[in-house]
């Protein structure tokens, strides 16, 4: 799922297509360190001081004492690499990289990756070119120079322009999209034209005769064209890199100097020169990066571009930001892009000339320049948040690429699996404190992977002192010895390891799969087993009180289980069992040989016992018929019950007794507050306080019964999954403990009813299907190791910490995410890189003991600007959310809110004081952190943390559970939903997956100003999707997609799109289906009109707008600015 969506680059950047682009930047940055920064570390920030609360400005953001998160480190989203994961697009990602190498070098180097990174764009013209080309079908068209600056692009772009007028500006966007869509093809088609050539030439071969035209191609499809002959300069970026961001690696430093050179080529090539200069000049100063000013314009160009331009464009921005000019909005990229484009576009013809221009000598410098530019620009480009309105990239935000040498980055762990808030690790704790960004890891260790190398060997090679598994980042001293990358101990290579089973050769230990893959799975030998692997055991504990029967969930549950009974993961040993309860506990004897299931009722709930030792948990294969009989009769069995009490605590104890000999999974379905026997709870919610702006009470458990029981369960390898279906308050804060400490998961369906809430029913069905059939690991433990000097101190997620760093996970499922916080204990002075390794040992449902190992490698940097340029905004947001949940429970909600606000203030303050060399007015942020305030605001308005808006306590607590437990990918959708306009979907830039065409509308900002009565908008909040139909929506959409004649005929409770045989309907359904396929749970769809009840829910997600109790985005920025300038 993820991949597709996410890959895009961050920015509007042009180059999404190229994965490289983005990445380059980051890389470059890192390397830069060496270069001349003039970093100024300014006075160190004392966190504490910083915190000094600033009087709350406008609103609710008083800064109180902020002790927030300790070390904050900055991490940025740099360029994302699309490459990674790809989920869908495997092709995409990989592609770029691959291709990249060959031809790439030249091209990239030359033009700092035109395509790739947006940031670079500024620097180099090339990118633009690319974009333009792609954009416009005809490459050849000489782009008129004129349009460049202005957002003009549109002119050319007939095709693109297609989109609604509003988008006009979008042109750029479009490109990206397009590129995304057709990752591979791009090379040829879109790019094809001229642009490419230039790029390459300019850069690499300035001297060369001009390869011109073709070169471009090469770029895009590096592989193909024999690009420029240019000898790759030594620097050649590592091709591999390209994928991620090619440039970065080594060369960057070099590049620096180059900038100038680049300039020339470009100039020569195109008319632009003048422009370039001008631009440069103007911008130059602005560029905050220390790097840039250095030389040149190139850098200057890129960066400056945006700001200056924008200024011009945007009228003044009043708080409202009325600027409608969404197009520009794309922002920073744009300008750059445009600029870039110009040169190129024009260039095409001129191009040839260039050769003459710069001498051969220039090559290397130019290269250097290129890289430099590219790098600096993007991640560190200064963005004035108060002036740039449209910061949101048109496609999902990709993860930044660490600046590692390409050969390391190529094999680094997928960011969807393993991600760090700072892709460049600061050398010392004091540096980290200065940056004031949180340092932590986010993991999704058991994610479903399409490709996973599995190794079977009798000895698993591990470091003898720290027990690290051998991984791609260890170093081989010689054939016989390897050095651990975590503790630096030198170990022997065992004889068996000398043989490579893949290539069937001997003596190449460094070619073994263990050393070639950052994610790998081992089949464990018997030393890893304390006992024989347990069978898959599933126990279902069902509430059958009157309340439960009313909701009608039993029907759905039994039907789902019947449908999926053969798909339950397991082998011939799989066991199942059932317990139902109301005020008594009912067991079911399913022993083989019985003619029908036998119900055994235990009414002594104070001292629970099992009525019969075996035959309550039975072998599924042998007793399948009995189980099916039971499932068919269960829904009717309690149809007339009048029992309203619920003895959940006793039922859980009984279930624990039943499972404790083997361990397994317990699925508990509960529909009301448990009110009988042990673990009885009382209602703690005061409905009148739901909207209170004061502190929210009762976020912590009312009793430790559930926690204690969960710990017992954890000790016996039993995990408890909780399904809560209730209209009433159920005290999820207390009940949730049972899952939290036993590594279970929690599902919540507020107001579930089989007739009144069909959307909930559908979601429950789909969730159950996924739940029953997804992969599962039993009796698991996970350990996270990191290089000596770093230490992990806090864990987030559902598990129990057994020893200091060992997480006990009775069950592990593919939808569980984890986060950890780290600190730097010893200086990492002499290290170039640090590594993190997560090892998950589990028993598969087939009874195999396996170890899944993920290893992540990140560079160490010693300057603040490098730290900032490596910040991963999304990861930081995810980690801050986890920390804030903890804070809300241990301290108070307002404390947590203050801490989040302060996190934004601190990191931006630190950036302003320590990194920016030129002080300017406004709220300045590096490009990689530009979304940080927006995400923080989104968190403050999130169900979990909002105040002043009516929020049921259970929903709030559930949102908190999800923030801690969901993998980052899904948590980000919860935090910042995606909004699309879907009444004008076109195949332009569409993805093509399995013969299906998936349109790719751009992501809109969450503001009412983006809505229009003439349109239809889809908001994707992760678990729920809203389709909002404007009052004057085009009749075509209504009839072709919704199948209704006019607006008034749109039904009130529509949650399914009719399957009409029209192109519009197919496109819409393909798009929604594609969004759903990307995640493991099933988002329900609500079609809403202006007067629908759900409209309030829809509007609540308009994060950038002001609400009665919360600031608008602009106000929030002003508040931040006020605090920062203090």
């Amino acid at each position: 799922m993820s991949t597709a969506g996410f890959n895009s680059q961050n920015g509007t950047g042009t180059g999404q297509t190229y994965a490289n682009g983005p990445s380059q930047n980051p890389v470059a940055l890192q390397q830069l360190p060496g270069v001349s920064y003039s970093m100024t570390h300014q006075p160190i920030y004392n966190p504490m001081q910083a915190k000094a609360p600033s009087p709350p400005g406008p609103g609710p953001y008083p800064s109180a004492p902020y002790q927030p998160v300790p070390p904050v480190s900055s991490y940025q989203p740099g360029p994302p690499l699309t490459s990674y994961p790809s989920s869908l697009g495997q092709p995409l990602l990989p592609r770029p990289p691959l291709s990249g190498p060959p031809s790439h070098t030249p091209p990239q180097s030359a033009s700092p990756s035109p395509g790739p990174r947006m940031p670079p764009a500024q620097a180099t013209p090339p990118p633009p070119a690319v974009s333009s080309s792609s954009y416009y079908p005809n490459p050849q068209q000489p782009m008129a120079p004129a349009w460049q600056y202005n957002t003009a692009p549109p002119p050319m772009g007939p095709p693109t322009s297609i989109s609604a007028p509003p988008r006009g500006p979008v042109a750029n966007h479009v490109n990206p999209a397009a590129s995304l869509a057709e990752p591979r093809p791009p090379s040829s088609a879109p790019y094809s034209t001229a642009p490419p050539p230039r790029v390459s030439q300019s850069v690499t071969q300035p001297p060369g005769p001009g390869m011109p035209p073709t070169s471009m191609l090469g770029y895009s499809q590096p592989g193909t064209a024999p690009p420029p002959m240019n000898p790759m300069v030594p620097n050649a970026y590592q091709p591999g890199r390209a994928a991620y961001g090619p440039p970065p690696t080594g060369p960057p430093p070099i590049m620096k100097p180059a900038p100038p050179p680049t300039g020339p080529p470009v100039a020569s090539a195109t008319p632009p020169p003048p422009k370039g200069d001008g631009a440069v000049a103007g911008n130059g100063p602005q560029a905050s990066n220390s790097y840039n000013h250095v030389d040149n314009k190139m850098a200057g160009l890129a960066q400056p571009g945006p700001p200056g331009r924008h200024l011009g464009h945007y009228p003044s921005l009043p708080p409202g930001y009325q600027n409608t000019s969404a197009p520009h909005g794309t922002s920073s990229m744009h300008p750059a892009m445009q600029a870039a484009t110009q040169p190129y576009t024009q260039a095409p013809q001129p191009y040839q000339q260039p050769p003459g221009g710069p001498g051969p000598a220039q090559l290397s410098p130019s290269l250097a320049a290129m890289s430099l530019q590219s790098s600096t620009p993007e991640a560190l480009r200064v963005v004035n948040l108060l002036q740039e309105r449209n910061l949101l990239p048109p496609t999902p935000v990709p993860a930044p690429t660490p600046c590692l040498p390409q050969d390391l980055q190529k094999i680094n762990c997928n960011p969807e699996v393993f991600r760090c808030t700072l892709t460049s690790i600061p050398q010392t704790q004091s540096l980290l404190n200065k940056a004031k960004m949180p340092l932590g890891l986010l993991l999704h260790p058991f994610k479903d992977l399409s490709q996973l190398p599995v190794v079977t060997s009798s000895t698993i090679v591990r470091c003898r002192s720290c027990r690290t598994y051998i991984n791609p980042f260890v170093s081989f001293l010689d054939q016989r010895r390897w050095k651990c990358n975590l503790c630096y101990r030198v170990n022997d290579v065992p004889e068996e390891f000398m043989y490579n089973p893949v290539s069937r050769s001997y003596g190449e230990p460094h070619k073994r799969p263990e050393v070639q893959n950052a994610t790998i799975e081992f089949i464990a030998p018997s030393e890893y087993m304390l006992r024989p692997p347990q069978p898959a055991v599933y126990l279902f504990v069902l509430d059958v009180s009157h309340n439960a029967v009313e909701t009608g969930y039993l029907n759905v549950f039994c039907q789902s289980l019947l449908d999926n009974i053969n798909a339950l993961p397991g082998d011939s040993r799989t066991k199942v069992g059932f317990i139902t309860f109301d005020s008594t506990i009912h067991f079911y004897n399913l022993q083989e040989g019985l003619s029908q299931p036998q119900m055994l009722i235990v009414s002594d709930i104070e001292d629970i016992f099992l009525p019969t030792p075996d035959s309550l948990l039975v072998n599924l294969n042998e007793c399948k018929e009995l189980v099916q009989d039971l499932l068919k009769s269960l829904p009717t069995l309690f149809g007339k019950t009048m029992e309203t009490q619920s003895a959940l605590g006793s039922a859980l104890q009984a279930a624990f007794k039943l499972l404790s000999p083997t361990g397994g999974r317990m699925s508990v379905f509960q529909t009301q507050l448990p009110n009988l026997g042990v673990g009885a709870l009382q209602s703690r919610e005061d409905p009148n306080q739901r909207a209170s702006a004061k502190d929210i009470q009762h976020l912590s458990p009312a009793t430790d019964f559930y926690k204690k029981l969960a710990l017992d369960c954890s000790g016996q390898q039993v995990a408890v999954d909780l399904f809560l279906l209730s209209a009433q308050y159920c005290d999820l804060a207390s009940l949730g403990c049972i899952s939290r400490y036993s590594a279970g998961s929690v599902y919540y369906y507020p107001s579930y009813h089989h007739q009144h809430s069909p959307a909930q029913v559908e979601r429950f069905q789909k969730d159950l299907k996924r739940y029953l059939t997804r992969k599962i690991g039993f009796e698991a433990v996970m350990r996270i190791r990191c290089t000596k000097g770093l230490s992990i101190h806090t864990f987030h997620g559902n598990f129990f910490v057994r020893s200091t760093d060992l997480l006990s996970l009775p069950n592990v499922n593919p939808d569980a995410g984890f986060a950890v916080q780290m600190s730097i204990e010893d200086n990492l002075d002499d290290m170039q890189v640090v590594s993190f390794q997560a090892a998950l040992l589990y028993t598969s449902s087939k009874g195999e003991r396996r170890i899944r190992v993920h290893t992540l490698c990140l560079p160490v940097v010693n300057s603040l600007s490098d730290i900032f340029s490596g910040a991963d905004v999304q990861a930081m947001t995810g980690l801050l959310a986890c920390m804030a949940v903890d804070r809300s429970v241990t301290a108070s909600l307002s404390d947590a809110r203050d801490a989040m606000t302060n996190a934004a203030i601190d990191s931006l303050t630190s950036y302003r004081q320590s990194v920016l060399t030129v002080q300017q007015p406004g709220l300045l942020a590096p490009a990689c952190l530009r979304l940080f305030p927006l995400y923080i605001l989104a968190l403050l308005k999130q169900k979990a943390f909002r105040t002043g808006t009516s929020t049921r306590l259970d929903e709030r607590v559930f949102a908190m559970c999800q923030l801690k437990y969901q993998p980052l990918l899904y948590a980000m959708l919860m935090i910042h939903p995606a909004l699309y306009r879907i009444d004008d979907l076109t195949d332009e830039g569409a993805l093509n997956i399995n013969e299906r065409t998936i349109p790719q509308p751009r992501v809109l900002q969450l503001s009412v100003e983006k809505l229009s009565r003439e349109g239809a908008f889809l908001m994707d909040t992760g678990t729920v999707m809203y389709l909002w139909i404007g009052r004057n929506c085009h009749p075509n959409f209504l009839t072709q997609v919704l199948g209704v004649p006019n607006y008034a005929a749109v039904p009130e409770n529509l949650h399914l799109l009719p399957e009409l045989d029209t192109a519009e309907s197919q496109r819409t359904r393909a798009f929604i289906g594609w969004l759903r396929d990307q995640r493991p749970f099933y988002p329900s769809l609500h079609v809403i009109r202006d007067e629908s009840q759900l409209k309030a829910n829809f509007m609540q997600n308009m994060i950038e707008d002001r609400t009665a109790s919360a600031l608008s985005y602009y106000e929030f920025l002003l508040h931040l600015q006020q605090q920062i300038s203090k």
């Binding site: 030998p525 069978p535 040993r573 000999p661």
Partner: protein, 215 residues
């Protein structure tokens, strides 16, 4: 009462199948027995007796080796021995039928863990006293269980250690004797030299005496 059952390959002690012990009722800690069972499987080799009973505290290990596979069970001491061997025999027949041919090829531990289902079933029928009567016929077919060797688990597990102790002692002895030999040689040569020197002195004295006094 059969508490633990394990099937392992004799060649390398690789566990092939096992039955998870249910210690809920008994409340006993089987962990220690389990590790003993694992060690035992590793110690066994082609030279080990085919059937043997090992005593360990108030429990007995019974094992049977057939076709390169060892079937091991842990029973209470009061559990009849012939019953235990009949049980193992049963397991062997079934296991060999189902997986016999694949035994030499597997590398993963517990490759045939699914055999657990059958083990549990057999266990139940042997433990259930009512079912025991049905097994009466088996009893008569059983060979004379009395002849089955009985040993103590400690002895088996430590037999290896005793031998290695003996080995070190012997090598100590041999190195000591070597030293003795070289010392003796040295002494011999020394005494020889002393004798030669004495004779030489005597003759020189004689010559001098003859030369100066005699003449």
């Amino acid at each position: 009462m059969i508490l633990l059952t394990m099937v392992a390959r004799v060649a390398d002690g690789l566990p092939l199948a096992a039955s998870i012990q249910e210690d809920e009722q008994s409340g006993r800690d089987l962990q220690q027995y389990q590790s003993q069972a694992k060690q035992l499987c590793r110690k066994l080799n082609a030279q080990s007796p085919d059937r043997c009973t090992l005593e360990t505290g108030d429990m007995n290990f019974h094992y049977l080796i057939a076709q390169g596979v060892c079937y091991l069970s842990l029973c209470e001491a009061s559990f009849p021995k012939k019953m235990a061997f009949a049980y193992l025999e049963d397991l062997h027949n079934e296991f060999y039928d189902q997986y016999g041919r694949r035994v030499p090829t597997v590398t993963r531990p517990y490759s045939f863990i699914e055999f657990d289902t059958y083990i549990q079933k057999m266990k139940k029928s042997y433990v259930d006293s009512r079912a025991r009567r049905n097994l009466g016929s088996i009893n008569t077919e059983l060979q004379d269980v009395q002849r089955i060797m009985v040993a103590n688990i400690e002895e088996v597990l430590q037999r290896g250690e005793a031998i290695s102790a003996l080995d070190t002692k012997a090598s100590n002895l041999s190195s000591l004797s070597k030293k003795y030999r070289s010392d003796a040689k040295y002494l011999n040569t020394r005494s020889t030299y002393a004798k030669v020197a004495a004779v030489a002195v005597f003759f020189i004295t004689l010559i001098i005496y003859v030369r100066f006094w005699w003449l």
